[in-house]
């Protein structure tokens, strides 16, 4: 079976299933609203220091949304059953994993597509393409890691505790480099190109590693 086709098929299946139930999108929308409200009332933001605070709010919201989005990719009961069924086919585990990762990433990007402009709108920071690019780059690597560990804890007890515990340490490099990139794009001191270069390096490294690890995690 063509692995590329398998991945696409799995991704479409997941997205279609999400479209039918529409459970995840409202949860992610909640994060966006929460991020905006808490940022406004929790911090003293005015036009001058918005660029300093908004990147932090952005990454906070993204990390939490990511944990929710990737956690759900493997957790539902029917997901487990269909995952086992898929593993019985000759399809490569990497392709199946890639498909689920792509679907979860798409949902997260949907969330970002609302969050980033909303932050820009409500707090007056520039809607910079540099910001968008950095966020997208970071999403790729974070998605690969998030999905791998979501698959890992799917059949383990205490998975709601374990997923953030395992995933956040691995996301730290992305938060650091991504945070720097967004700050630099918004005009704060920092080297945007270096930060983006780091993001690309991390993306390549972790996408390769998670692909290698996928079959050990998905296998029964």
């Amino acid at each position: 079976m063509n692995p590329f086709r398998v991945a696409v098929a799995v991704a479409i299946k997941d997205l279609r299933s999400e479209w039918r139930t529409r459970e995840l999108v409202p949860a992610l929308a909640q994060f966006i609203v929460l991020a905006l409200l808490i940022a406004n009332f929790g911090f003293q933001i005015d036009a001058r220091d918005a660029p300093q605070i908004v990147p932090g709010v952005l990454w906070l919201a993204l990390v939490f949304a990511g944990l929710v989005a990737f956690g759900r990719t493997f957790s539902a009961e029917r997901e487990q059953a269909s995952l086992e069924a898929m593993m019985l086919t000759p399809a490569s585990p990497i392709a199946i994993f890639a498909g689920k990762a792509v679907a979860a990433t798409a949902l997260l990007i949907l969330c970002e597509a609302v969050l980033v402009p909303a932050l820009s709108l409500f707090f007056g920071t520039a809607l910079d393409p540099g910001v968008v690019f950095a966020v997208l780059l970071a999403t790729v690597g974070m998605a690969a890691l998030g999905c791998l560990f979501a698959a890992l804890v799917a059949r383990v007890r205490a998975r709601e505790l374990l997923l953030p515990l395992l995933t956040l340490p691995l996301w730290i490099p992305f938060i650091i480099a991504g945070g720097q990139a967004v700050q630099a794009a918004l005009g704060l001191p920092g080297n945007y190109d270096e930060a983006v270069g780091l993001l690309i390096d991390f993306d390549i490294l972790f996408v390769v590693l998670t692909s290698l690890a996928a079959r050990y995690v998905l296998d029964e």
């Binding site: 730290i172 080297n191 296998d219």
Partner: protein, 231 residues
């Protein structure tokens, strides 16, 4: 049992020797007696990294050929490694307070050591929460491998981040020869202690595994086809 007791006694004797060496080591001119925390603090950090290297190798070997021994080494290394990391963090914080003014700072070393602790605490949790046996071993192996790779990356990231915003803290690593000798001796003793602790833990895990196998239901073996009765 006796063999392990002997090794333990040796390790304890060595540590006492290291303690004496630390006691008689010269006092730092700038920092005073507090600086002596350095000897066991850094030795513990290095011992911890060594333990997690054991976890890495054990995990890789286990994923490759499902060797139970490799998995036991990984498990043992993780437990001992977390103990030494805890000691590193606590001693470091107690050293930081009088010297830097606060128990904690988010520089590269502290951050990556904290991340190290979190990752391998997660490793131990995964082992505890997953179905014992193959599932726990596999999943933990993945955690162990990713964790080991992540720590230098976090260290590098924070260092890079800090160079974007240079701060006033500069660490001077020059050591006078007497202090260096004391440190190397303490390090050697600590590594011996770590090895002994891993060895004991490995034996414990072997015995626990044997027990687990005794409780597990016997595997179903296909019956040999019965001979057809001749008419």
């Amino acid at each position: 049992m006796n063999r392990y007791r002997t090794w333990a006694a040796l390790a304890v004797a060595l540590m006492l020797g290291a303690g004496a060496a630390i006691y008689y080591a010269p006092t730092d001119y700038l920092q005073g007696v507090v600086q002596k925390i350095f000897y066991l603090h850094v030795s513990s950090a290095i011992a911890a990294y060594g333990c997690f290297a054991v976890v890495l190798v054990g995990s890789l070997v286990y994923l490759r050929n499902e060797s139970a021994a490799a998995d036991r080494f990984a498990r043992s290394g993780a437990v001992v490694g977390v103990v030494f990391t805890t000691i590193t963090l606590v001693m470091g914080s107690l050293w930081a307070k009088p010297i830097w003014g606060s128990f904690w700072t988010w520089d590269a070393r502290l951050t990556s050591t904290l991340v190290l602790w979190i990752i391998y605490a997660g490793y131990l949790l995964v082992r505890r929460m997953a179905d014992p046996g193959r599932q726990a071993a596999r999943l933990a192996a993945v955690v162990g491998i990713f964790g080991f790779i992540d720590v230098p990356i976090v260290h590098f990231s924070v260092t890079w981040w800090r160079t974007q915003h240079p701060g006033p803290v500069v660490v001077n690593d020059a050591l006078p020869p007497q202090m260096l000798a004391t440190f190397l001796f303490t390090l050697a003793c600590t590594l011996v202690l770590a090895a002994v602790l891993i060895g004991i833990r490995y034996r414990i895990e072997t015995l626990l595994d044997a027990r687990l196998r005794a409780i597990e239901p016997a595997p179903i073996v296909s019956a040999a086809p019965e001979a057809e009765p001749t008419a």
